[in-house]
């Protein structure tokens, strides 16, 4: 760059506008050249991203997906197992188990459907019986028959094409705070619309929460296609509160010993009461109303197109193994599917299963769920 002596005061600035000294006569397309530089850079980044698939955040990705290294288990948001039980998996198989918690069961299934061309992981745990038919219809799952699976699977897996394996089950029931409602264990759906229970019930939004959906299905089973909407309108008129998820309903709105809210009635699990024993007492302060239960079964399966299908199968076997089954009640408050599994003592006393839970045929659920939810949205949520 040359400076011309006769120019006024600010030479540096003037120099910026002076002609480049090199090759002044060669015609060029500098704008186009600059542009092509940008194009090349952009294309390079896209190609690097699209083909490589290894961004800065996954430096160890190559090989980590290999059949021997890691197996990825997609779970719903409330998955939990003891650390030592999880460590057993690595000890038994030599595989590292990576947990990928997603949202609630419904959102997780939808996410799996949307990403089925590039699965989130290898195996999935937490698809429940209200979403199983959708996941299978969308081709998310690969068939697998675990050698650990016994005849106890049969009542749960009819119509599932061998693509899902039942791991645990639970009853979604109304839970009552016995300190406010002493007869809470004997409540029925009919009671909830009575004036004495005004402003006492909180439930989860069935569109965003699987226990919420299960509770809605229980009312549909109890009241029938013709009566359930009328029943919910009556509940609404009686001061029903709907919140987004189970955590919010149970911990923020319910009045139980470990909760912070004011409402003594909540849609939760039959297995919730054992953990509600107040300090210094011997019996829980809450109880499940067994006439309001809907049975929820949680399944695991191998994802279609898994990077590590061998590992995924081992995960299913692992989830059915005795140590995991025994760990389930304490960690996730669900009943293990294997009948030979010992239950905690307090479960036998305070967390009985409903003898006759409400149920709906999976085909009915699959065919009508969207319509029910839309009607619920319109009429109850507003």
């Amino acid at each position: 760059m040359r400076r011309r002596p006769s120019q006024p005061a600010t030479p540096a600035a003037a120099a910026r506008f002076s002609a480049p000294a090199e090759s002044p006569r060669r015609p060029r397309l500098p704008a186009a050249r600059a542009a092509s530089g940008i194009i090349v850079a952009l294309a390079a980044t896209l190609v690097a991203g699209g083909c490589g698939g290894t961004g800065p955040e996954t430096p160890k990705a190559p090989g980590a997906n290999g059949p021997s290294g890691t197996v990825k288990l997609v779970t719903h948001g409330s998955f939990a197992l003891s650390a030592e039980v999880l460590a057993d998996f690595t000890a038994q198989t030599g595989l590292e188990l990576q947990l990928l918690p997603s949202d609630d069961a419904g959102a997780m299934v939808n996410q799996l459907i949307l990403t089925k061309d590039a699965p989130l992981g290898d195996a999935v745990f937490g698809i429940d019986n209200t979403f199983a038919s959708r996941a299978i219809a969308e081709g998310v799952l690969e068939p697998y028959q675990s050698p650990q699976a016994g005849p106890e699977q049969d009542p749960h897996t009819a119509g599932l094409e061998g693509r899902l394996t039942a791991i645990d089950f639970s009853d979604v029931c109304l839970n009552a705070d016995l300190r406010a409602i002493p007869g809470g264990a004997d409540l029925t759906f009919d009671d909830l619309v009575k004036p004495e229970f005004e402003d006492q019930l909180v439930v989860e939004n069935p569109a965003t929460s699987s226990p919420g959906l299960a509770f809605l299905l229980a009312t549909i089973a109890a009241r029938g296609e013709d009566g359930w909407l009328e029943y919910w309108r009556a509940l609404k008129a009686n001061g029903l509160k709907v919140v987004s998820g189970w955590n919010e309903a149970y911990y923020d709105e319910f009045s139980g010993p470990s909760s912070a809210g004011q409402r003594p009635l909540v849609a939760s699990y039959a297995s919730s009461p054992p953990s509600e024993v107040p300090a210094g007492e011997s019996a829980p302060a809450t109880a499940a109303a067994l006439a309001t239960c809907f049975r929820q079964v949680e399944y695991a399966g191998v994802l279609n197109g898994a990077a590590n299908p061998q590992g995924a199968r081992k995960v299913i076997d692992f989830l059915l193994s005795a140590p995991v089954q025994a760990d389930l009640p304490g960690q996730m408050w669900v009943y293990p599917v294997r009948p030979d599994t010992p239950l905690p003592d307090d479960w036998a006393r305070w967390a009985p299963l409903a003898e006759r839970p409400w149920s709906l045929a999976p085909s009915d659920i699959a065919a009508n769920r969207e319509r029910w939810l839309a009607e619920f949205n319109d009429q109850v949520l507003g």
Partner: protein, 723 residues
């Protein structure tokens, strides 16, 4: 509306020297002082009258003398040696420097087309294609088009409630912000007092804050156990409204304030002299003059509120849903693409209507003002950023107003008394009270957020912050600290992309083609570019999922998936920040540089980029802040093992217990600190040249410093005399 008769019909009465009324738009031109004599030749010298006539400010071509006109003409370069105007310094130019054969018009056009092609291709591939695919999927059933979705949704009362809520929350926020912005702006942009800079920064800051942080801050404030928990406004309309006002009031005040600061104060003074009280002068003179800024800012605020996502999701509860959150529920939870597509179309309609309304109101107002002469100064105000130009105006956002052409309010000719005066309680009590209220409104949730983040189950302490590094606490495969690091990397990539694309767009849009078709094309480009603001981020994210999943663009598991979406969301803001200063660059500088032999890229680097570099820095900071806080699209695209900090915070909110809430609060403070720090660093770094230190040569400030600034009489004098 009655206009005070004393309104000066002409912009500059004879007694006022040119500089007193020189608009900020002219400021780049002093740079011409150090250009070679060709441009400063008598012909080319800017005539003050031409620059101040309304047409001059509107159409740059008309402002140029015949010579500069020829300079712009593509054929000129070949004839240059023989037809140039005589100049005493002509001999200093070496003939070869002109290189008449170098820049053929077609080459220029090809270059420009190539620059335009990159952002156009980006928008086509990463915006139009995914969104169109998603919408089309909603309207096809079994291979044929199916429009019954509209009928079904129109027949549902809930749909109309959703639309009513969306419009209602946006309108309510806009009205509150507009009502608050006028008094706040009058204090922060028309008065001088210690702490003004701090207050301005405080009010502007929320705009850069991630929406998840704001949602969480208001939840901690209004929820059970919060300091305002006794109000019982835990969820529903009111907390959402509070959060939206928090977000937007500073933005509105900024748009109005920068506009107001550059407004000619004399009509109001004349009204006062003629006996109007302060309220009457405000109502009949000032407010009508501010209407364009109110309309521009208002339509912007309406737009942001109608598409608000995270605040509604976090604060609305299960029963308060808007169109935006309903799109989310329909897609993520129910997989009902048909309803989602219809709602997306509805939302685009609402947004387009708001934009159209804002643009129309402003244009009508401007026309009226031009007729009465009030608008003369305002037409040349870049301080409002884009609002003065096209109303969608992110340019006025945040500090961009100052960075962009934002010298509005600080005129080269000297400060006006209206600016210099300190506020007094007797006169300014409405402004002082409103500003105090708004400052509290903004500071309280943030202070409370920081305070609550220190509360752990084991008493006060840093426990929540220490837990940020603990992977077992986050409920994710990684700790929140890792999520924060990933957020930063992703946002850097997204910000770099948005900045590069924004630059390319601004280069193209700052040209002033004479052909009508070219201007039309520019206009179309401009609108498509702004569309990501009006399309739900959820729709964008969801569209990404269903389109970018196969060769040749299989980005499903790519690192670039999230940065691409975030760049798309940040791009409109980047362009609105860079474009106004780029547009205000005097075209004669380009011409002079070209004449001197600079290649187009060099012209860009030495002229446009140098003049707009503060805006570039601010735009980069904004791009980072927007990307790092982006929630709507990212929540769709983030996989469980590649979660960003905002998504991780939101997931934590769904988990039980005070510990998880505490961790989420600590994460929110970390996230807010990241964005505020980046913005603040940009501010301080780029404010340095303002100090008495010698500014770097060649910068805009250097141009200002060397500009001749003869002392001007105070602007409050009419015709140069004291009233």
């Amino acid at each position: 509306m009655a206009r005070p008769p004393a309104t000066p019909g002409k912009p500059a009465p004879p007694g006022v020297p040119p500089d007193a009324a020189r608009s900020p738009r002219d400021t780049p031109s002093p740079d011409a002082a150090w250009l070679p004599g060709t441009v400063r030749s008598p012909d080319a010298a800017r005539s003050p009258d031409a620059a101040r006539s309304p047409d001059a400010a509107r159409s740059p071509d008309a402002a140029q003398s015949p010579l500069t006109h020829r300079l712009a003409a593509p054929t000129w370069s070949r004839q240059a040696p023989t037809r140039r105007a005589p100049s005493p310094r002509r001999s200093t130019l070496r003939p070869e420097a002109l290189r008449p054969e170098a820049w053929q018009p077609w080459a220029r056009r090809a270059g420009l087309a190539a620059v335009a092609a990159i952002p156009a291709a980006f928008l086509a591939i990463f915006f139009i294609w995914p969104v169109a695919t998603l919408v089309a999927r909603g309207f096809t059933a079994g291979g044929s088009w199916d429009w019954s979705g509209f009928g079904d949704l129109a027949g549902r009362a809930r749909t109309w409630r959703l639309i009513g809520r969306t419009v209602g929350q946006a309108a309510a926020t806009t009205v509150i912000c507009a009502a608050a912005a006028v008094p706040v702006a009058s204090l922060l942009y028309r008065r001088q007092f210690p702490g003004r800079g701090f207050l301005r920064a405080l009010l502007t800051m929320p705009f850069a804050l991630p929406s998840v942080v704001v949602g969480l801050a208001f939840r901690a404030l209004l929820g059970a156990g919060g300091p305002l928990g006794f109000l019982g406004l835990e969820d529903g309309f009111w907390p959402v409204l509070a959060a939206l006002v928090f977000f937007n009031v500073g933005l509105m005040a900024r748009v109005v304030g920068t506009f107001w600061g550059a407004l000619d104060p004399r009509p109001e003074q004349a009204a006062r002299v003629l006996g109007a009280g302060p309220w009457r002068a405000l109502a009949t003179v000032t407010l009508p003059a501010l209407a364009p800024a109110l309309a521009a800012g208002g339509s912007l605020v309406f737009l942001f509120c109608a598409t608000a996502f995270a605040p509604v999701l976090i604060l609305g509860g299960a029963t308060y849903t808007t169109v935006e959150t309903e799109i989310y529920i329909q897609t993520a939870q129910l997989l009902d693409l048909r309803s989602a597509a219809v709602l997306s179309i509805v939302q685009m309609g609402v947004v387009a209507l708001a934009l159209w309304f804002g643009a129309t109101a402003r244009r009508r107002r401007e026309r009226a003002l031009r007729l009465t002469g009030i608008g003369l100064v305002e037409t040349a105000v870049p301080g409002t950023g884009a609002p003065a130009e096209d109303g969608r105006g992110g340019g006025g956002m945040g500090s961009a107003g100052r960075g962009g052409g934002g010298r509005g309010g600080r005129r080269p000719g000297g400060a006006r008394p209206a600016l210099a005066a300190a506020p007094t309680w007797a006169v300014d009590w409405p402004s002082l009270a409103t500003t105090a209220l708004m400052a509290t409104w903004i500071a309280l949730p943030l202070v409370n957020l920081a305070y609550r983040s220190l509360r752990t189950s084991a008493g006060f302490g840093l426990g929540n912050y220490l837990a940020l590094g603990d992977p077992s606490r986050a409920g994710l495969p990684h700790s929140l600290a890792e999520a924060a690091a990933r957020s930063a990397v992703v946002a850097l990539a997204a910000g770099a992309m948005a900045l590069g694309l924004g630059l390319a767009v601004s280069v193209v849009l700052s040209r002033r083609p004479r052909a009508r078709w070219a201007r039309r094309l520019q206009g179309l480009f401009d609108s498509v570019l702004m569309a990501p603001l009006g399309v739900s981020a959820v729709t964008v994210g969801f569209g990404f999922l269903i389109t970018l999943n196969r060769a040749p663009l299989n980005l499903r598991t790519s690192f670039w998936l999230i940065p691409l979406a975030q760049a798309l969301v940040a791009l409109p803001l980047v362009v609105r920040t860079i474009l106004p200063p780029m547009r205000s660059v005097d075209p004669r500088l380009h011409q002079a540089a070209s004449v001197l032999g600079a290649a187009p890229w060099r012209v860009f680097v030495s002229v446009d980029a140098a003049l707009a570099r503060r805006a570039l820095a601010v735009a980069a900071a904004y791009a980072f802040a927007v990307s790092v806080g982006e929630f709507g699209a990212t929540s769709f695209l983030a996989r469980p093992d590649t979660t960003t900090l905002p998504v991780a915070i939101y997931k934590l909110l769904g988990r039980p217990g005070a510990d998880n809430l505490g961790l989420a609060l600590a994460g929110a403070v970390l996230l807010a600190t990241m964005t505020v720090l980046v913005m603040a660093l940009t501010e301080t770094r780029w404010r340095l040249p303002r100090r008495p230190r010698q500014p770097p040569a060649g910068s805009l400030r250097a141009g200002l410093a060397t500009a001749p600034t003869p002392p001007a009489p105070p602007a409050w004098s009419l015709n140069g005399r004291r009233p």
